[in-house]
């Protein structure tokens, strides 16, 4: 692959990391796994520490982060989509939001600079977990046949149209949803990483070329790299938010069917 006569590495080289420990076994650990473990630890530490200092009335430090995160998920995700009885999903949604956020944001953290969610494994696992949860909630709150009836035969549709609507609903509710959820997160992270890599390589190549290359790197590609880094921070937060809010929408949809 050749972009603008640059030595652009093959796409696989950007996302395949060699194993660091336990090479060849099922438990091989590479950079992606380390980032996931790190973001899991950070999420656990933040909420454990914040849960311990419950005496302080005015939140500060870690507790402030945790409390504003919880309030954010409660007000702009749960209350907007599920309603008050969605509060029991708060722990799940909040931890998922922070886990996805921390494993996305490594995209712009210096020396890490790899969004762990640009590998498909964890996004698809999270999406399958979400799939299980919203189907379970649907069966639990409407009964098995009630849930099937409400999701396959949406009310308010003319009878004859069910020939078209039912297969579409079947495929979109039970097959496409988890995949679109996972692909949305994964593809956004892949695209962001490719964008950053392209501009970083462009800057480095121009700088190495010398002469007019210095001007090109300083004026064109380097500011663009900084701009894109800022944009990717936005995308990381937004994708974590969208994953969480879509989960909440799916749970809400199987909790309160349309009438």
């Amino acid at each position: 692959m050749n972009v603008l006569a640059l030595e652009f590495p093959p796409v696989n080289h950007l996302f395949d990391w060699p194993s660091i420990w336990f090479d060849g076994t099922l438990f091989a650990i590479n950079k992606t796994v380390l980032i996931y473990l790190g973001s899991m630890l950070v999420t656990m530490v933040i909420f454990t520490l914040a849960g311990r200092q419950r005496d302080s009335l005015v939140p500060s430090g870690v507790q402030h982060v945790a409390e504003s995160g919880v309030t954010f998920v409660e007000e702009s995700v749960v209350m907007q989509t599920i309603g008050p009885d969605g509060k029991k999903f708060m722990p799940f949604l909040t931890t998922m939001f922070f886990f996805i956020l921390f494993s996305n944001i490594t995209e712009v953290i210096p020396f890490l600079q790899f969004p762990a969610n640009s590998r498909m494994a964890i996004p698809i696992t999270l999406a399958i977990v979400v799939w299980c949860i919203y189907n379970f909630v649907g069966v639990q709150s409407q009964g098995f046949f009630g849930y099937l009836k409400n999701s396959l035969f949406p009310p308010g549709v003319p009878k004859a149209l069910y020939i078209i609507v039912t297969p579409i609903e079947l495929v979109s509710t039970f097959v496409v949803r988890p995949f679109s959820l996972a692909i949305r997160l994964w593809a956004n992270m892949v695209a962001g990483h490719l964008l950053l890599v392209t501009f970083a390589i462009l800057s480095a190549t121009m700088w190495d070329a010398g002469g007019p290359g210095y001007a090109g790197a300083l004026v064109l590609s380097w500011p663009m790299l900084i701009l894109m880094t800022g944009f990717e921070i936005l995308v990381s937060v937004l994708q974590a938010f969208i994953f969480t809010i879509l989960t909440a929408v799916y749970i809400g949809g199987s909790m309160h069917p349309e009438h």
Binding site: M1, V11, S76, V77, Q80, T81, S180, I183, R184, A187, N188, V190, A191, L238, F241, I242, I245, L246, V249
Partner: protein, 85 residues
């Protein structure tokens, strides 16, 4: 032009066609979602301007609409990655 085509190695030709297909495919896949996201955000902004007190609800729904619309463009992007030689 024909001579050039005849001299080209068929494997190389296939690679080139793949690259063209990937580029065109992503470009075409981005048209519809581009228009769609424009419509979603434009209408959300006009709704927020008319009723600033409902901005929170509109913003949430806007992100949902963007997420659903954007999925098509992302599938185009995935095809682009898969087709790259």
């Amino acid at each position: 032009m024909l001579n050039l085509l005849a001299e080209t190695d068929p494997g190389e030709m296939l690679e080139g066609l793949k690259a063209i297909g990937a580029g065109l495919g992503y470009g075409l896949a981005a048209i519809g979602p581009g228009i769609g996201i424009g419509t979603v955000v434009g209408n959300a902004i006009s709704a927020m301007a008319r009723q600033p007190e409902s901005a929170g609800m509109v913003r949430t729904t806007m992100f949902l609409g963007i997420a659903f619309t954007e999925a098509l463009a992302l599938i185009g992007f995935v095809v682009f990655i898969l087709l790259l030689p």
